[in-house]
């Protein structure tokens, strides 16, 4: 799965998610992601809690999205998760790298939701 650049066609996706429950989950994850990004932008100095929730979301998406045929979303989630893990070990003042990677993930979610 690693390194895959393109995702399977819609027929293959439908076989993996016949009742569309995973697409619905992506829709909810996108809404959660947007809310967390807003919280991080507005939240002043308190960023720990939203960052932890963002890490949980990224971790779960990293595991599930690729399995359901959304490889690019999975890879973007892995990148975001790795970035969040790095920051946990090496705290930095700016969360701009995280916001950038989260925005990329959000764009990919938008694309998947538009196609479905």
């Amino acid at each position: 799965m690693k390194g895959r650049k393109t995702d399977p066609d819609r027929t293959a996706l439908a076989l993996l998610d016949p009742d569309g429950s995973f697409i619905e989950r992506l829709r909810q994850d996108r809404a959660t992601l947007m809310a967390l990004l807003k919280e991080l932008a507005d939240g002043g100095s308190e960023k720990q809690a939203p960052l932890e929730r963002l890490q949980t979301l990224a971790h779960r998406l990293a595991g599930a999205a690729g399995t359901f045929g959304h490889g690019q979303i999975g890879e973007a989630a892995i990148t975001l998760e790795d970035c969040l893990a790095d920051i946990a070990f090496f705290p930095v003042h700016s969360i701009d790298p995280i916001l950038g990677k989260a925005s990329r993930l959000c764009a990919l979610l938008d694309g998947a939701l538009r196609e479905n």
Binding site: D17, R60, G63, A64, A65, G66, T67
Partner: protein
């Protein structure tokens, strides 16, 4: 709560609650321990398509209850469970002598995580995201393993022979056996209630180039009988003159 998904039989559909006992017993049963309902649903559908009966649980404690009560052909365990680390769960399962093969699922991608998973008692490891054909292949490979390779403990009445620890126990107490006597007991336990020819015993205990004295087998049998009797084993070694030996469980005397 265990979610038992009953799959359709090749002859027709069977609805939950309508399945016959013989139907459910005859199909390999697999336990999926995964808190991500999308993933566990996908795996269950795939396994059902392959003809397996699937139980799904989300918590480690539910998994322990299910695995101790049911003889599963395979356990699929996610590493990140809400109530307990999957590694702990696998260790606990092995401690409770749950011997079904375990396929561990995880989003942890580091080599050391995979090594840790396998050393905790899992038989294979699949990193998320994974491709469904790979999942199917790993399940098939684990279920293809002969039982003798999965199970290194042999039981007969209150006798246990553990090939991993090279221990023989009666009622949980270790027996003072020399190496050849241990090998002899293992052979007899594996062939319990079946006649074991003397020649088979010789081939098991001795190599081609070993010199075997005419009474060596009898001597090992004599010592083993005494050890088993002293330890209170609920089985005895029966002699068929000119044929061989048989471990007979108490109450199972075969004529």
């Amino acid at each position: 709560m265990v979610n038992r998904n009953i799959v359709a039989s090749p002859q027709g559909n069977v609805l939950p609650g309508e399945e016959s006992e013989s139907f459910t017993i005859s199909r390999p049963r697999i336990l999926v321990v995964e808190d991500d309902s999308d993933i566990s649903g996908l795996l269950s559908r795939e396994l059902a398509t392959l003809g397996y009966t699937v139980d799904r649980v989300e918590l480690a404690e539910e998994a322990l209850l299910a695995a101790t009560a049911t003889d599963y052909a395979l356990l699929i365990v996610d590493l990140g469970l809400p109530d307990r680390d999957g590694l702990d769960l696998v260790r606990e399962m092995r401690r409770l002598l749950i011997e079904a093969p375990i396929l561990m699922l995880t989003a942890r991608r580091k080599v050391e995580d995979r090594v840790l998973g396998l050393s905790s008692g899992a038989d294979d490891y699949l990193v998320k995201p994974f491709a469904i054909p790979e999942f199917r292949a790993r399940v098939a490979a684990l279920l293809r393993r002969p039982a003798r390779l999965r199970d290194n403990r042999f039981h007969a009445a209150n006798i246990v022979v553990d090939r991993d620890s090279l221990e023989a126990l009666v009622g949980g107490v270790g027996l003072p056996l020399a190496r050849k006597q241990f090998q002899l007991l293992e052979l007899l336990v594996r062939r319990k209630n079946h006649m074991t020819p003397k020649r088979m015993i010789e081939e098991t205990l001795y190599g081609f180039n070993d010199e075997v004295s005419p009474n060596s087998i009898e001597a090992h049998i004599y010592k083993l009988r005494n050890v088993l009797k002293s330890a209170g084993a609920q089985a005895t070694i029966e002699t068929r003159r000119g044929i061989g030996y048989r471990l007979v469980l108490q109450g199972d005397r075969v004529e």
